[in-house]
Symmetry: C4
Subunit: 202 residues, 4 copies
């Protein structure tokens, strides 16, 4: 499958799972590093009916190289992640009830902490349930430039994390392939629900 | 698609999502403003198997212009909304567990308040997660005339709201198209579950 | 559709909704009153793959008139309901998480009480959300004769109820047709979840 | 169906139900007792797209007799179960939110206790809702040899249990056929959710 086809299928699947709704959600694949070329969702398309034409090819200034439409508002965040995660070749966004609840509940802690679950071994490169995954929580902002700078600092300070949660917004996860990234999302969303129902608030 | 076909498809989708059950639920599209012509669900049809023949064309006295059957009991509320929301061309009703729970929990507050969630940007015309959406909660009544008068006052007092919740009944949402209205419902129902699970009662 | 075909379709649908699991669940249709003839599920069949051959025709002594297999253990309860509810022509059983939880939580009250919800109007013959539906809760027993006698007393003492809950077992609902009975189940199961999530325990 | 085909179908179904995610999950069928021959999932395959080629035939030293790939890490546990449960011919693993929550909540009790639910009769050989099923909870470990020894002791000490829960890992269930084992899983997972929502934490 072409990157747009693979991301379109991913978007429709996320919609069906309740991980995206309406036109929200943004997904990308890195086409090349030098010069940087990005395939990313165009803004405003229904995720439930996403198709190959709903994607744009951008350069590292977020300028459109190919395709029609406006890039996702979150493009700058995608660029920041690709710059600071040299192995990442795919970035997916998911927005779910339990992630939202935990991003509030654990905002004061600065992160959603996962340890002791066999399922964490599903995250890329994790070998034991004793691995501690501390998913950073970042405050949301409509200023995409400011938000992407905050994101960059968090990525630098947390070299090992598999994702970042924008408070009351959603989860950004990355991986070396679309399939690996989807597995990471699947693990995070599962553990969000487990943590959510385990705490004294569900 | 014709308005009846589009609303029938919407009804079947709402049923499949658990947003409608049995014969409950009422959906309409505004066909014309002067003279006012309305396409609305006939009463008593299963929403899971709704088809184009389950709709009536009415005038602004709720008199049947075309089609067979009895108009939805809630027709007067639809008329009130179209009268007081000049841009509305579609009204949808949804009845869900979390909406029901919140309409009870927040009845004393007079509204279900949503702020700080990126998802509110999915509501028509909302540009920031800092937007405050205060969804009014109205007490239910079997007297449709009285209920529609209450509804009219609430619509006048709350010019910016995207919907109204009839306590322990369901949500009324409107928009300029069926698609836009469905997006609004999708956002509200998502945030209802988030708020429901965030509070100290789920 | 023939009664067995209609009940088989209902069983598969209940399984798909999580209202039945494995071989549990028993469904019947009254074929005739004098002499009484019953079409009921044979014991031990998977509800997810139920077909027309998984039903038996019985008389009012629960003797097999037609078909192969053993009648559902709950046959005596079906006979009791048909005897004491002259208008009932269908009985359905559903077993769900929320019904189970409420049958425990409200066992001390003797019933699960539903009032104030517009959805109660979905129950046969209910005209207002102010209607009070008090669903009796009966303690479970492996002695089907004893259990059916208890059921009969409850049916006599509660002439207006639309169903009975066997504690930690499941819900029995009836109606004049399979479709009407399914609507009643749909309403009860929806309200069970609403009540479950509204209380201080979910 | 061949054992690999039946297990592949089971894996895809478990994935669709949310009982398995990503590449997690391990399923086996006993092909022969003397000499012992096992058909078990190869490691690292997506459960949502499992097919007949994703299985290996092993002997009682976990040596590959047929097929390509690496046996599931949990192979030793499967061997332990088959050795100590002479009637078992199938072992299934499921990993769900509610099981995870209960394995934490009841870890101090040493087991998840189920009694009084009609649904327990769905477990192989259980005749009454008064049956007490005490599902042992075992601490997780990455040392599969140590873990399988612990499992063996638990199996010896609890001759009547239908499954074992590895804390924060998942449920192991067995039966005489794949169908019977799936029914057992279905009952356990249903009761996990009931217990989870009944307690003061959901």
């Amino acid at each position: 499958m072409t990157p747009p086809a693979e991301l379109a299928e991913t978007g429709r699947d996320f919609y069906a799972r309740g991980w995206a709704r309406g036109a929200s959600g943004n997904f990308s694949v890195l086409l090349a590093r030098r010069p940087l070329r990005l395939c990313i969702t165009a803004a405003g398309n229904e995720k439930g009916t996403l198709d190959e034409t709903n994607f744009l090819e951008l350069d590292d200034d977020a300028e459109i190289v190919q395709g029609f439409g406006r890039p996702s508002d979150e493009t700058l965040m995608h660029l920041s992640i690709y710059r600071l995660r040299p192995k990442a070749r795919c970035i997916l966004y998911s927005q779910t009830v339990w992630g939202m609840v935990l991003s509030d509940r654990h905002y004061v802690d600065g992160s959603i902490s996962m340890q002791g679950y066999e399922a964490v071994k599903g995250l890329s490169g994790v070998a034991s349930h004793e691995h501690i995954e501390r998913l950073p929580i970042v405050e949301n902002s409509q200023d995409q430039v400011a938000l992407s700078h905050v994101l960059e600092n968090v990525l630098i300070e947390n070299p090992l994390v598999h994702g970042i949660y924008i408070r009351r917004h959603g989860l950004y996860t990355w991986g070396e392939t679309v399939a690996e990234t989807r597995r990471n999302v699947e693990i995070f969303e599962f553990l969000f629900e487990v943590l959510g129902r385990t705490g004294n608030i569900q």
